[in-house]
Amino acid sequence: MLKVDNLHASIEGKEILKGLSFEVKAGEVHAIMGPNGSGKSTLSQVLAGREVYEVTQGSVTYQGKNLLEMSVEERAWAGIFLSFQYPVAIPGIRNSNFLRTAYNAIRKNRNLEELDAMDFLALLKEKAKLVEMDPKLLDRALNDGFSGGEKKRNEILQMALLEPTLAVLDETDSGLDIDALRVIAQGVNAMRNKERAMIVITHYQRLLDYIVPDFVHVLSKGKIIKSGGKDLALELETKGYGWLTNVSEGSIPLPIN
């Protein structure tokens, strides 16, 4: 479904991704782990098409098409969904209106019938239960004054509505208490199926107790330095990232005189 090959990307002339390669097939859940500054968020933003990042080398193929040539919205129409680490808050846009506009924009571009306000509301209420979201949040302004957990629930609610083919979850666990984490993971797990792939980006192994991946990749300094099964995450939890990143550099820091 998705093939990332030797991907290089930079922002304001600074290279962040330095030759990243991996492949995701339908039905698979891949975890991408790595320390701060390793390029995790850059990867998620590049996949979603954020224009401030410049791809300087390599390719990304999604469903046989060149993803890098697609605009942000074209990617959304084609089934790519990014759950933001920091969802934006926009006072003045009512959450339910935003959700319906997004839902219908995607339906329209997939040549599906758009839903009117009444039908959409019924669908929205049903999906909101999946992430145990307070219905009052649907009438409020988009993410405005939402707690960290409420924002993340709203992200997963959007994912449930938009039914993506490839979902990229960027640090979905950050800022969540254990109960919220459990609820959100349940919501995500309910959407796992044979057609849908997911890329779960996280700093900590904790999330992967709840969303169990098929593959784990360790990202460091813009490259994948190790890939393995779900056990790799557990290994990282006990050993930290140091044993891997040092190996990858092939050197041991020298004491400075």
Binding site: G49, G92, F98
Partner: protein, 432 residues
């Protein structure tokens, strides 16, 4: 400057004096000498500091006669307001055929200016004389010397009327005309009204409208006053809403400015008794090389009155928006409470916004706040919306609407909200 000559104005006053069925002759003549000696304002005039009227003065205007009345109202009246009763003027004259007023009993007066409006205007202007010095607007003098008609609305004690449209149409016949409207509105004690003034013109038509509404909201009366300036893109509009408020009265004003090459729309209110309250909101949207200027003044003349104000500007292409907000708190107006905010959104590199708060506070026990911002659309917000499947245009439209809609929040009128959002969508599609 010969954009309008003293002779032209004098002839106009004489013409109107030949038959003077409404009895305004004395008033017009009084203003004529003022106008003849007036200097047309440049940026040196305090009240026009922000506004370059050079393009206006390059035109030559004259007064026009009657225009054909076989025009289609749909061209000029936004569909959202078509079910409301309306009083219509075309090119400076009342149009009976286009007006759709239900017969009214003696509880309300809704008519073009008549003989009975004269005394009311006099009594309103009497209050104004004390504050004339604060508002030395040469175009108001011009308007007072040259007006012949306008709307006369009077809501009698304890009466209430639903939304009423007063529509001022400028047809292609108005080319190079100076059109003057003077509206007189009295809301008597405990009465309620919603009045929507719409100024609408055919495209590519250069004319000048001066339109001033003199309003008296008496004790415990409430007025929603909505002014939509949708004049021709080549026209000029200089107008004002001049209000006096009595005890425990309230005014909610919404001013939308979007037409014209150059427009200037003022809203002034004098809170001349305790317990009075005003809310002045405004929205201006400029594109091409439009200049859209607004001036507001809230005069806290007595203690225990409150005011809130929110103006927002959206400026695209090479347009220029200006806002000057004056707040006066008189020496004895203790416990005045006043909030002012002006926010601007620049949609292009060439657009410009000026926001000037002017606070004159002579009392010590008051709460006054003000603020002004100028910003751009947030790239991260656009990205977020696009990542959810909205195309670039829809994402921008959604953010611009969100920005603008805050000014409409205090208003219950759904037709108004629908109209403004339709207009915004069209503007965003045309100009981003």
């Amino acid at each position: 400057m010969n954009w309008i000559s003293a002779n032209t104005i004098e002839e106009r006053v004489k013409d109107l004096a030949k038959t003077d069925p409404k009895g305004f002759n004395e008033l017009r003549t009084n203003y004529l000498s003022d106008v003849k000696s007036t200097e047309w304002p440049t940026h040196k005039a305090e009240l026009f500091r922000n506004l370059d009227l050079g393009t206006l003065y390059k035109n030559t205007f004259r007064f026009g006669g009657t225009s054909p009345s076989d025009i289609s109202i749909e061209t000029y009246l936004p569909e959202e307001f078509k079910s409301y009763p309306r009083l219509v003027f075309v090119d400076g004259l009342p149009s009976q055929t286009l007006s759709t007023l239900a017969p009214t009993d003696s509880s309300v007066v809704i008519e073009p200016l008549s003989y009975s409006s004269k005394d009311e205007l006099k009594s309103i202007l009497k209050q104004a004389s004390s504050s004339d010095d604060n508002y030395p607007n040469a175009f108001l003098k011009l308007n007072s010397a040259c007006f012949d008609t306008g709307a006369h609305i009077k809501i009698k004690k304890k009466q209430s009327i639903g939304p009423l449209v007063v529509l001022f149409i400028a047809t292609p016949h108005a080319k190079n005309h100076l059109i003057s409207y003077k509206n007189i509105l009295t809301i008597e004690p405990h009465a309620k009204a919603e009045i929507i003034e719409i100024y609408s013109g055919s495209p590519a038509n250069a004319y000048l409208t001066t339109a001033f509404s003199h309003i008296h909201i008496q004790e415990n009366a409430h007025l929603h006053h909505i002014k939509l300036q949708l004049e021709s893109n080549d026209a000029f509009h200089i107008g004002g809403t001049l209000v006096f408020q009595d005890e425990n009265s309230s005014l909610k004003s919404f001013a939308l400015n979007t037409g014209c090459q150059i427009s200037r729309t003022d809203v002034l209110t004098t809170l001349q008794a305790s317990g009075s309250h005003c809310l002045l909101n405004g929205l201006y949207y400029g594109n091409h090389s439009q200049t859209i200027d607004q001036y507001t003044s809230i005069d806290h003349a007595k203690p225990h009155a409150s005011s809130t104000e929110l103006y927002k500007g959206i400026l695209s292409d090479e347009s220029h928006g200006g806002f000057t907000g004056k707040i006066i708190v008189r020496p004895h107006a203790q416990k005045s409470d006043s909030k002012q905010m002006c926010r601007n959104l620049l949609l292009s590199k060439g657009a410009r916004a000026d926001a000037i708060p002017q606070l004159e506070i002579y009392a010590d026990d008051v709460k006054c706040s003000h603020g002004a911002t100028i910003g751009e659309l947030d790239e991260e917000e656009i990205f977020y919306l696009r990542s959810r499947g909205l195309d670039s245009e829809s994402a921008r439209h959604m953010l611009i609407s969100a920005f603008a809609n805050e000014t409409l929040e205090p208003f219950d009128s759904n037709p108004l909200k629908r109209f403004v959002n339709r207009l915004l969508e069209q503007k965003v599609m045309d100009h981003g």
